[in-house]
């Protein structure tokens, strides 16, 4: 069996995998999906930073993002905390504990600079988004 299996690659490529071809069309289509994905990703990130100009809990953020049309965190409740944690590590936001034990997040000076730098992108992103929503 061992010897026979050494020919597996050739065997499969010439039989069941004969028609498999990672084509330029596939590549293009993946790039398209990624472009859409990255737009919404960036838009989400910028909106998150904007909302954190004020102090908010993760729960509030999830709801406020939904209001802004970003439903990404609605179904996966935990995922916003992963992002918040990541940003905390990056130093763009800081967490503190509220009176009733809830964790609150707010932009740091560094986070503010990030937001300002991406200001133009925010503006364009939100304009485009609104444009799409109205259509």
């Amino acid at each position: 069996m061992e010897e026979r299996l050494k020919g597996l690659k050739k065997a499969m490529k010439e039989t069941c995998m004969r028609e498999l071809d990672f084509s330029e069309t596939m590549k293009k289509s993946i790039h398209n999906s990624i472009a859409k994905e990255s737009f919404s990703e960036q838009n989400m990130f910028i909106n998150l930073l904007q909302l954190l100009v004020k102090e908010r809990t993760g729960f509030e953020l999830t709801r406020l993002l939904v209001v802004r049309g970003i439903r990404k965190f609605e179904d996966e409740e935990g995922s916003i905390y992963a992002l918040l944690h990541e940003q905390e590590q990056a130093g763009t936001i800081i967490a503190s504990w509220g009176p009733s034990g809830e964790k609150k997040y707010q932009l740091t000076d560094k986070g503010r600079r990030v937001l300002e730098k991406s200001g133009e992108q925010v503006w364009r992103a939100s304009l485009t988004l609104r444009g799409q929503a109205e259509r």
Partner: protein, 177 residues
């Protein structure tokens, strides 16, 4: 601004990386997906999902493992997640493309016997249960070392070895049977 923060914003760089990964590994990922789902169109869809996921989680790649290992983990998990949800949604496992549909007058066994050795080998590997098929595929098709297989499959080295042994025994049985 440090790199971690920038990473969320620098889109072009990420797209260049994905482009390179697609050039280098696109075909292999497509074949790997096929080895799980046994259907060309599905394998193409999954390959697309895999690269989009890879783009989404590029910032989690810390360079501790080889990028290929990292990509393979994403690919394998995506395929398995698909199969899990597929089984959940389809109580009756209907046809997969690969179950050989020869002349309807003959039984599958009869037809298979008539195929040449290559077809027979591919067929017996593709008909193994997933946990055996994947180790055979990774080890013999992709020539992946045991240690790396353990990483991409998230199991330990000994489990890989045990499964390989068992898989070979199964293949031998089906070959001689």
């Amino acid at each position: 601004m440090d790199e971690i923060t920038m990473e969320r914003l620098v889109i072009e760089e990420k797209e260049i990386i994905i482009d390179e990964l697609m050039d280098q590994y696109g075909q292999e990922i497509l074949q790997l997906s096929y080895s799980y789902v046994k259907n060309r169109e599905l394998a193409e869809d999954l390959t697309q999902d895999i690269f989009v996921k890879c783009y989404q989680s590029l910032h989690t790649y810390k360079g501790k493992s080889k990028i290929r290992t990292w990509l393979w983990r994403i690919a394998i998990n995506t395929c398995k997640d698909y199969l899990k949800s597929w089984y959940k949604n389809h109580v009756v496992p209907t046809s997969d493309e690969y179950i050989y549909s020869g002349d309807s007058g003959h039984s599958t066994e009869q037809v298979v016997i008539q195929q040449d050795e290559e077809e027979r080998l591919a067929h017996s590997v593709m008909n193994l249960p997933i946990k055996y098929r994947e180790v055979i595929y990774l080890h013999y098709f992709e020539e992946m070392p045991i240690r790396e297989m353990a990483q991409v499959l998230s199991i330990n080295n000994n489990t890989v070895k045990t499964r390989l042994r068992r898989a070979k025994a199964l293949l031998k049985d089906s070959w001689e049977g």
